[in-house]
Amino acid sequence: MTEKKPERRDFLFTATYAVGAVGVGAVVWPMIDQMNPDASVKALASTEVDVSSVTPGKTITVLWRGKPVFIRRRTKDEITEAKSVSLKDLKHPEKDEDRAKNPEWLVMLGVCTHLGCVPLDQKGDYNGWFCPCHGSHYDISGRIRKGPAPTNMEIPEYKFVDANTIKIG
């Protein structure tokens, strides 16, 4: 084949395709983005929880952004147990100190990182949580120890507003 010199028409074709692609993109994006969380969903981004009634060894579950959040007041034994685990034994190594700023309170998303089920409290081989869907075992720090889940249960952003109130989100 002989080399063809680009001519006026080639330029016009290329320019038309380029402008057309931008136009299609500008129309398609709103169609896609409308499915993302809307303003009213985003507005419900934080929840305040009164934890004064939670005694050591008890877990409460609250709803935050449609997902359960476990708030567990851990006993002294549980804290010792959580801190004694060697990082080498962990699939997703995280220190307990990094997960529970105040070791007495573990605040985490009660959502299994495998496929999103809610694990059961005080079940499983590691004295923590057990997901009934596909058999993931979590320890008392919410770290994955056995089963298909790839990571530890997530810690949401939270802070103590006062001694008895936690603000999640």
Binding site: M35, P37, V41, T61, R65, C117, V118, P119, G135, P148
Partner: protein, 421 residues
């Protein structure tokens, strides 16, 4: 399309047909030459068309009473069951109709696997069929979410979370699918919209599926090419129409049995509990027709690889026309393939069984072996078998094995002698 020229008899008919050849199409469909040895496994195409229309009609009616809102959906389904005239009947037909649809499609697929209907020149028919099957699974999943019971909610959560296995963008994709940070009202409304859309996409693909079928014509139980029209074919109407109609009646007896005697046996009791985002049911089990793939998902210990394995198990079917290297279509003439075929059937049934059981201990081990064998069948057994298998000589026409005195008998004998040497 045209085996012979067709001209409408009436003047008006001719006038219309010259402008829009609908009568030519109708004539093609009634005269369509069909192999005369088709057995009852070939009646499931018609049965499936019936299933699709049943789902569309009952679904349309249900949508008149159903309310796609997280606070109202569950109650509106109970309203259909208790208050709407014949609502119970329509909903039970729709819910069991999904199961009947899958029952028929599995028979249809396994018929194709046995008689080699996916092979040249019918690859496109097959691939369109696989796309229809994928859309059916999507529609079934989306529909199962709509009653907003516990199984609906948690099924939706687990299946949408499969997308979180995608590296980097996974979480974003899941949030986008949900329209929030969990399965909630935005998820329900979009699932309803898509559940309404998909059956019509399937309908369009069914037209293409049949169109693609009418180009080479039907495969048949002995899997040989036949001349059309010839002594080996009969016109679609009335021969096949009556046969399909009879098979459909038999099928409707089974369908009616489920609807009227055990309408909930194929469902799960937990779906009569309203969705609760704080409690996951003890055993999340998908509908029976998805169980083999669910077993494959759970048999892989890694999240991403599990999802890939499950998708591959379905998509590998699309490559089947090229994975099966044998030029002989029908398993009737493939003694070894016939055995592997039945092993595959057993393998899929085993996967379905362990998919319903807890993923631990012996069940998990069986699921892993069965998953490995499933892929082995398509990736190793089929390609190798095509080269290694000694097939039985195929007859030259449909009439030959019955009537014997085929003009080609001498040729067959000659060929057989060649094979034996």
């Amino acid at each position: 399309m045209s085996e012979h020229e067709y001209t409408p008899k009436s003047k008006v008919g001719k006038w219309f047909n010259d402008r829009l050849p609908l009568l030519t199409l109708a004539n093609h469909l009634t005269d369509y030459p069909t192999p005369k040895n088709l057995n009852y496994w070939w009646t499931f195409g018609g049965i499936l068309t019936f299933c699709l229309i049943t789902q569309i009609v009952t679904g349309l009616v249900l949508a008149m009473h159903y309310i796609a809102h997280a606070d109202l959906a569950f109650a509106s389904v109970e309203h259909i069951m208790r208050d709407v005239n014949y609502g119970w009947l329509i909903r039970y037909i729709h819910a069991n109709g999904a199961s009947m649809f899958f029952l028929a499609v599995y028979i249809h697929i396994f018929r194709s696997l046995f008689y080699g209907s996916y092979k040249s020149p019918r690859e496109i028919i097959w691939i369109i069929g696989i796309i229809i099957y994928l859309l059916m699974m999507a529609a079934a999943f989306l529909g199962y979410v709509l009653p907003w019971g516990q199984m609906s909610f948690w099924g939706a959560t687990v299946i949408t979370n499969l997308f979180s296995a995608i590296p980097l963008v996974g979480e974003g994709v899941v949030t986008w699918l949900w329209g929030g940070y969990s399965v909630d009202n935005p998820t329900l409304t979009r699932f309803f919209t898509l559940h309404y859309l998909i059956p019509f996409l399937i309908l369009g693909l069914v037209v293409l599926h049949i169109w693609a079928l009418h180009v080479p014509g039907n495969n048949n139980p002995i899997g040989i090419d036949i001349k059309k029209p010839s002594k080996d074919t009969v016109p679609f109407h009335p021969y096949i129409v009556i046969k399909d109609g009879f098979a459909l009646l038999m099928f409707m007896i089974v369908f009616a049995f489920f609807v009227f005697y055990t309408p909930n046996i194929l469902g799960h009791a937990d779906n009569y509990i309203e969705a609760n985002p704080l409690v996951t049911p003890a055993h999340i089990v998908p509908e029976w027709y998805l169980l083999p793939f669910y077993a494959i998902l759970r048999s892989v210990p890694d999240k991403l690889l599990g999802v890939i394995a499950m998708l591959s198990a379905i998509l590998i079917l699309a490559a089947l026309p090229w994975l099966d290297t044998s030029r002989i279509r029908s398993a009737v003439f493939r003694p070894l393939y016939k055995q592997f075929y039945w092993i595959l059937v057993a393998d899929v049934l085993i996967l379905g069984y362990v998919g319903a059981m807890p993923a631990e201990g012996l069940y998990l081990l069986i699921a892993r072996i069965a998953t490995a064998y499933y892929f082995l069948h398509f990736l190793i057994v089929l390609p190798v078998l095509g080269f290694r298998e000694r097939t039985i000589p195929v007859p030259l026409s449909i009439t030959e094995p019955i009537l014997g005195g085929s003009p080609n008998l001498a040729a067959v004998k000659k060929r057989d002698n060649l094979k034996i040497q």
